[in-house]
Amino acid sequence: MSTLVLLSLLGFLVLFLGAFDQKKLLLPVAILGLVAAFFTNALDWGTNHLWYGMMLYDNYAISFVGLMIVTLILILLIASYQFRNEDSHIADIYALMIFVLVGALVMTSYSSLVMLFVGIEILSIALYILAGSRRTNLASNEASLKYFLMGAFASGFLLFGITLMYGVTGSFDLAVISDYANGTDNLPIIFTTGVILILIGFAFKIGAVPFHFWTPDVYQGAPTIITAFMATVVKTAGIAAFYRLFDTCFSGIDGVWYNILWAIAAATILLGNISAVMQNEAKRMLAWSSVAHAGYLLLPVLALNELSSSSIFYYTAAYSVASVTAFGVLIAISQFNNDLQIDQYKGLAKNKPMMTLALVVSMFSLAGIPPLAGFFGKYFVFVTAMESNLNIAVMVAIAGSLIGVYYYFRPVIYAFNNEGQPMERIATSWTFNFVLALGVFLTLLLGIFPDLLSNLPGN
């Protein structure tokens, strides 16, 4: 709870620093505040406090919030680099990102469906603005409008599902709903309808097939740093909320949703990977790849055993670090060219060897090449799925990963082609170099010592 209050006040502080023209203080204050929030968050470890019957701040929530705070710190450092030459609205963008984190915190720690909905709305409304934050750009406006319309629609599905749950059980409390679901022999049809509607709402939010149609356009149109933010923090919050609800309430009634979620996961993995192969634009390729990763993340939700939460956590950690690094490189290269084609990575290795190293490590990690973090992420997810006899789904996922190797290697192959345009003009900053170095370091560290995180969140 102290983390929630601290983050909310930090958001306001950053907002007002911007309004009072204290541009120099913005980044230090935001970073210091997030570091403080990380420690107050860690101090709650093991307390399992239930706040007002609404939020259960257990180790699961603490682990995911800690991960999202670290990711946001990395993203803010890159954002300060991307916006270094613009002086308008930076404070607003930082503040909105922090408010998104507040929503994400509520989404990972809810113990009542009301708080789930409130969390999703806090997160989404700030994101709609962020997606359109490049106001003069048509694509950014389109992304914002599309995301808003689709997101509002998805919220409608989710809310309808929650309403039906309340209608049947008379409570928003997860414990009551869980008791009802596990203790009733013939579940009424409106209860199962409610489960499916909530499932659809979540599938929309994390961009799973067949509710993924907004993902490529929104990810491509939004400013690149916001895309990185959506692909990491927001996806982590979405999958954490998804798993929390299904683990707490619906684990005993998997007959209702199992086949649907199986089909969604398999379709997401296949369509995400196959579509990513066909993209020539780097940002759109990464957008489709994030759809594919949502598919892998659905496997532990489907498996729903004692390994699920730790494999989701490890996978999102590995994926977030690699994505931030990959998007960082993309931001640096595309500073003169908004719609960067994959073959325009040419000449990177000759001119920017360190940036190439970051590109290689992040792409290999996303593809799942050992000994990088992404490999163990996939390994843990597949082991979790095998544990619940999801052998066919795992075979689909392995086929998807093999397809993934092709498109993740393409930018790397082009980067080592020396015929490209000279890239000396690309300016970097120390924050940017720091994030890239840290991203490479963490990806290697988590790959070589997976035990560091693989026991989290623990119970």
């Binding site: 306001f12 007002f16 309004a19 009072f20």
Partner: protein, 120 residues
Amino acid sequence: MSGTSEYIPLLIQLVFAGGFVLLVLIITHLIGPKRDGARKLESFECGIESKGNARLPFSIKYFLTAILFVLFDVEVIFFYPWATNFREFGMDGFISMLIFVAFFLLGFLYLMKKKAFKWE
């Protein structure tokens, strides 16, 4: 199921309502006079001949004012349920409301600093 038969009057009303609309549409089409022409197709405005284009540019400032009005109006609505339950909520309710108003005023201050109320 005994419950189903209770809804038969509703079904009858539904059929009647739809049928009435269809009937009126067909009858007016059959018995009404038919006139075409430029005058007939012109948009009707109080009987006076219309002039110019309806799509006039007007100041975007009105839009911001309207949005801000809606925002603060919605926030003020939250005062009513609190006011009617003032005694039961007691001190806790009062403190909660003070926090709410503090956030509310922070938003107001932010708008002032962003010069949202400067008309010129």
